[in-house]
Amino acid sequence: MWLDDFFTGQTTSQLIPGIANMYIKTLFFATCREITGERETAFDLVDGASVSDLIEKICGEHSAFRSMEASLMVSVNQSYVDRDQELKEGDEVAFIPPVSGG
């Protein structure tokens, strides 16, 4: 598929031959953003991966994320979800620290 070819350049080591991969748009806010250093990025995950799998992937890149992730809410496509929520191509995931609006 051409999309795989397109992405192969930057993520060859993470692609698993024969298993479909998906790119998940991921947003970080407040303290999360300070830890990851970015507000918006994308992670490639194997088909069928869950929010928990995404969290593991982020912890692999940003070790400080592990100590805070338990306190976070997670949304998929702007609705709060549990960590066993399965992800699909095109989803937008956000990590939401305890809110402090008002």
């Binding site: 709060y80 809110v99 402090s100 008002g102």
Partner: protein
């Protein structure tokens, strides 16, 4: 909720522009209303013993406006209110500026009084907005509302 069922005239908005204290009054008030209750959250000059220079607010804008709208649905399920308006600012706010404005109209006062209190409490629980306090010698994101316990997942989805 389908667009056809959505009450027209409600306002749910995240904005960078300043909020005037009467910004929602005209838009929520109709001839059938006997009351308008409004609440303004304002930037104060101190927090937990420290002098605040200013605040910076950030939001997950699309989801924040969606959650405000959900709070409007919750309000309508509980009280006989007419129109609901919620504005919340993002960006840099100076001392004395309005960070959040809520205005709710109703035929009788009790509904809008109670609904307004509920709305600001709910906003502080589930709407993805964060404030950063900036002091003379540092800054930090505030996490959660120190004056109330963290919401459970069930409450959020209910």
């Amino acid at each position: 909720m389908e667009a056809s069922l959505r009450m027209t005239g409600d306002v749910y908005r995240i904005q960078e522009e300043c909020i005037a204290s009467d910004a929602l009054y005209e838009s929520v008030l109709r001839d059938s209303d006997g009351a308008v209750t409004s609440f303004a959250g304002v930037v104060r000059d101190h927090s937990l013993g420290r002098d605040t220079k200013h605040l910076e607010y950030d939001a997950y804008q699309g989801m924040a406006e969606k959650k405000m709208e959900e709070i409007g649905d919750e309000v309508r399920a509980r009280w006989d209110v007419d129109r609901i308006g919620i504005l919340h600012r993002i960006g840099r706010l100076e001392i004395g500026e309005i960070s959040v404005l809520i205005a709710i109209s109703s035929p009788h006062r009790k509904a809008s009084l109670e609904a307004c209190h509920y709305t600001i409490d709910r906003l502080k629980e589930i709407v993805p907005i964060w404030k950063k306090e900036v002091w003379t010698n540092g800054e930090a994101w505030v996490e959660g509302d120190p004056s109330s316990p963290a919401p459970t997942k069930q409450e959020d989805q209910g």
